[in-house]
Subunit: 225 residues, 2 copies
């Protein structure tokens, strides 16, 4: 299914229907179809067994849609905003969580490096809880991105970074999130205009990438709202 | 394996070895054993195939240990601290993430309601990244907990809660995290002494339970450190 992706479950499909994404087809149980009508989209009635065969889950939830992966918006980076960029982010759950965080905090665009997880993989779609239909996602070489947007501050977490509660975060810029195991790549480290850290009061070596993103963006918004 | 749990992978097993948990046995590849010695614990040499049979992963990482589930500390709630309590938390990833957050922020005890996920399930152990060996976990009926600790403020997220950036969070108390789909149970809602919310600037309906916990605890620590 080149250029297409699966959207699974009642809630996600309903959010998809309210988005600008192009939908190819919807496969639903008769009960689902009797409640939800979509005049412009073909809805195929399927049995529970057929739904199970289409699904990546053991217990599919009523309906599955096939949608087009949107074309990448080459003009998504317009300056004057706050962005999240992910460097080699591998875990589908983290990618979905970060897109959901962006949606919550009104961040319009999330950039993933080419080596990151495919956000149209069903696990990311599921973890993003519909936010994938509202947040712009682009794949871009991050060196190129930083070189082309030198007016934007690049902020990243580092062991020797300043305490986020005591440092001033700029109103706009790019938050760079590193790989789950290795952090920010050596060749991107030199682009950081500000190194920050979330103070630790205990013994964990690190925080989950999604949680760290949430805490930093929350503090960012607190300071600038 | 009643009363036992699996700890998988090099890093987690090394953290287990540095903990006070009782270890029954360790099963490692010869390469792992040649580097790591544990004078007081039986280390069995296994082949890659044998490791794969013991593991819950497709690509097990060098070593697996079997440890005893610790007895519940009935005196874990001593007042004068900050606690996290989870009401019917279902997702193993969220449970592990919350235990890791507790460890990062120096919270010594996380309480789970009886209907929550089993934290000794391999997915939670994996998501907790060793923090399970440092943070005290107890299972408790939350109504009983709140009734027995009336001196502790109970803080929870609610739709109509006060903006966390603008409200004063107390130095000590219990942060109550609700179920992923249904939030805080009706019969616990009346115990909330303070309702808070993380301001939304976008369109996501909610944040992931682990991320919300991280944001609230971070703000809590910022205000009280």
């Amino acid at each position: 299914m080149y250029g297409k992706f699966l959207v699974e479950g009642d809630k996600a499909v309903r959010e998809l229907l309210h988005s600008s994404f192009k939908i190819d087809a919807i496969y639903g149980l008769s009960d689902w179809i009797s409640i939800h009508s979509s005049p412009h989209i073909t809805v195929h009635m399927v049995s529970e067994n057929e739904l199970l065969q289409l699904s990546t889950h053991d217990k599919p939830d009523q309906v599955i849609a096939i949608a087009d992966i949107p074309l990448q918006d080459e003009n998504a980076i317009v300056g004057q905003e706050l962005y999240i960029a992910c460097d080699q982010l591998n875990d589908p759950g983290n990618a979905g969580t970060i897109i959901r965080i962006a949606d919550w905090f009104g961040i319009k665009t999330v950039i993933f490096s080419a080596g990151s997880v495919d956000v149209y993989n069903p696990k990311v779609v599921s973890a993003a809880k519909g936010s994938l239909f509202r947040v712009k996602v682009i794949y871009e070489d991050l060196k190129t991105l930083f070189n082309n947007n030198k007016e934007l501050a690049v902020i990243g977490a580092a062991m020797d970074g300043e305490n986020i509660y005591q440092t001033k975060l700029p109103a706009i810029g790019i938050l760079l999130i590193g790989n789950e195991a290795n952090g920010i790549s050596d060749d991107l480290y030199s682009f950081l205009s500000q190194k920050i850290s979330i103070p630790s009061y205990g013994h964990a070596e690190s925080l989950n990438a999604g949680v760290a993103t949430g805490i930093i963006i929350s503090e960012w918004k607190r300071q600038n709202s």
